[in-house]
Symmetry: C2
Subunit: 342 residues, 2 copies
């Protein structure tokens, strides 16, 4: 079979070496910035590279170095709505910016279902990436196990469900939620509801726990009918708010476990004729950009994303470099941002 390919065969190290009149080893040294090369040889190699438009073949290099200089950020999310959550965009942007100055590449991988998670697991195990940052993990996801079993460097954004020894970076969800509800209590509200995140996600669970802890600490009762589960989307938040209102029309405050859901809740409250904050006070969680510009501006819990994203990459790189060191984790402080809604 003759090769009728019209795609230009890319030049190899050898061709560069021949053109520059040096050995392959020297070209390799120049490409990898080794100091032990004479200025003349370096110049000759550089001009040969330019002339041939040489680009190193990463597959060949990776085969010997066992490194791809690529890390994966996995968005593990069946719900398309959530995919456009500003929280994700911020993390992606932050990690990407952190890596911009390095020669590391970032690839995003998305999984809608378990099958796609398996596929991503295979992709990682086949050696395409040096490490993985895992976002939006649900309780039954197989991916953390697949990756951990394969010995793949891994950092989770959000702590794992069980107390496994995996590195993670998380916001203090429990503390933040506690502060939110404590604020609602301190400002004199008596019937405080909550719209939780999905309870198969640790952020959902922890924020609910914080809310309950604040109630308990203040000597209040925890009322199950004042808790509605949302899904971190605006639509889900609106739906949960309607359901809470139906169950207890007298409620006078609500802690909503994410800003997109809070926007939905605000909409539902307006539709139900409630004024915010006069009739019902609302506190969100995230301090997303939307929080400042919704009506009324949303009191919310700020997640320290500017701390979290560099940490995420730092912990991962440390694992990739210092193989065998124990995985480290970090929890970042949250803070209450007071605006008009509560």
């Amino acid at each position: 079979m003759t090769d009728i390919s019209t795609r230009p065969a890319s030049p190899t190290l050898d061709e560069v070496a021949v053109l520059a009149g040096v050995s392959r080893a020297t070209v390799s040294r120049v490409v990898n910035d080794s100091p032990r090369v004479s200025p003349e040889a370096r110049a000759a190699v550089h001009s040969a590279i330019a002339e041939l438009r040489y680009v190193p073949n990463r597959m060949a290099r990776s085969l010997v170095t066992r490194r791809t200089d690529t890390i994966a950020l996995v968005l593990n999310e069946p719900n398309t709505q959530v995919f456009s959550d500003p929280f994700f965009a911020s993390i992606v942007r932050g990690v990407s910016a952190t890596l911009a100055d390095t020669d590391l590449n970032l690839v995003l991988l998305t999984a809608q279902d378990e099958r796609e998670q398996q596929k991503i697991g295979r992709y990682a195990r086949q050696g395409h990436v040096d490490g993985v940052i895992l976002m939006s993990v649900h309780s039954n996801d197989p991916l953390p196990d697949i990756l951990a079993d394969a010995g793949m460097p891994l950092v989770m954004c959000g702590r794992p469900f069980d107390d496994r020894a995996v590195a993670y970076v998380d916001a203090d969800n429990r503390g933040g939620a506690e502060a939110a509800t404590a604020h609602l209590i301190a400002t004199g509200h008596s019937r405080i509801a909550t719209i939780t995140g999905p309870l198969d996600m640790i952020a959902g669970v922890d924020r609910l726990a914080g809310h309950r802890a604040a109630l308990t600490a203040a000597g209040r009762q925890v009322h199950p009918e004042l808790e509605a589960e949302g899904d971190f989307t605006e639509v889900g938040g609106a739906r949960a708010m309607e359901s809470l209102l139906a169950r207890d029309p007298e409620l006078d405050a609500v802690f909503v476990a994410s800003d997109p859901m809070a926007v939905g809740a605000l909409r539902a409250l307006r539709a139900a004729g409630r004024r915010v904050p006069e009739d019902v006070a609302v506190v969100g969680f995230d301090d997303a950009a939307v929080a400042a510009r919704c009506d009324p501006p949303l009191t919310t819990i700020a997640q320290p994303l500017t701390d979290m994203t560099p940490l995420l990459t730092e912990l991962l790189l440390r694992q990739i470099e210092g193989v065998g060191e124990p995985a480290e984790s970090r929890v970042c402080h949250t803070s209450l941002v007071r605006r008009a809604s509560a």
Copy 2:
């Protein structure tokens, strides 16, 4: 230097071959589903693979096959807001679903600025991917040229600015916009404004052209003061609407070049005390999920995303397989979806 790595060395083809009592070649045949293997040998290899938990090293394979079985979807977008546009989520989800049944992997690459585009260009040229789908191209982006020059199989989502020979899939933006404004004319509106997309993007340019064409076809004048440039975001849409209202308080209709912007425009109109559609009729573009649930439900132009995403991958795969064939392109029809806003 002794290797103190604790990461388990992954087993190789050779080890599988030894354990199964066959040659490397036979293991390779089994792994690649070649029919010329006896059932006994196949079974032996399979059990050896299972026992060793063997995963083929893709770098080694790619080195010889010149294939990575990975394609990249590049989101080329400086504006983080736009990153959470539902349109992107739909494309990503669609392409991902199309590839789910194949053994092709999909990676998402994002570029916020030109430097990151260069980095992506390098990533692609180094041989990490077999082909690229490029989204959200702005007029000065260097990436299309970098990729095309490197002979990388490429399909653009949205036609290119110049009439270069690059494959693309696009919606009929001009026709859709024309239909939108024609609808506004037909329903008796006289002062029809438009909020355009970014005019450094072809979708922005084409939709504006369609709007103007509809006005001209109806014998109307094109008024520059009734055109405001948005950025495809909700915030940008609201801002553009305010500016239009300030310039011409009497306007009675507006064609908004994307649904997120239309949501912003709706908000601005409400804030300005205008009723929709009684005072001002609004038509959007996209038929995003949000269009059906905003208040009032949005009349909009549907993009045939379910046609477009399979086409995107199909055209790319055809380029990857049939090297040297001329690049093919497609334009998909749009349709008016009538709801309450116009």
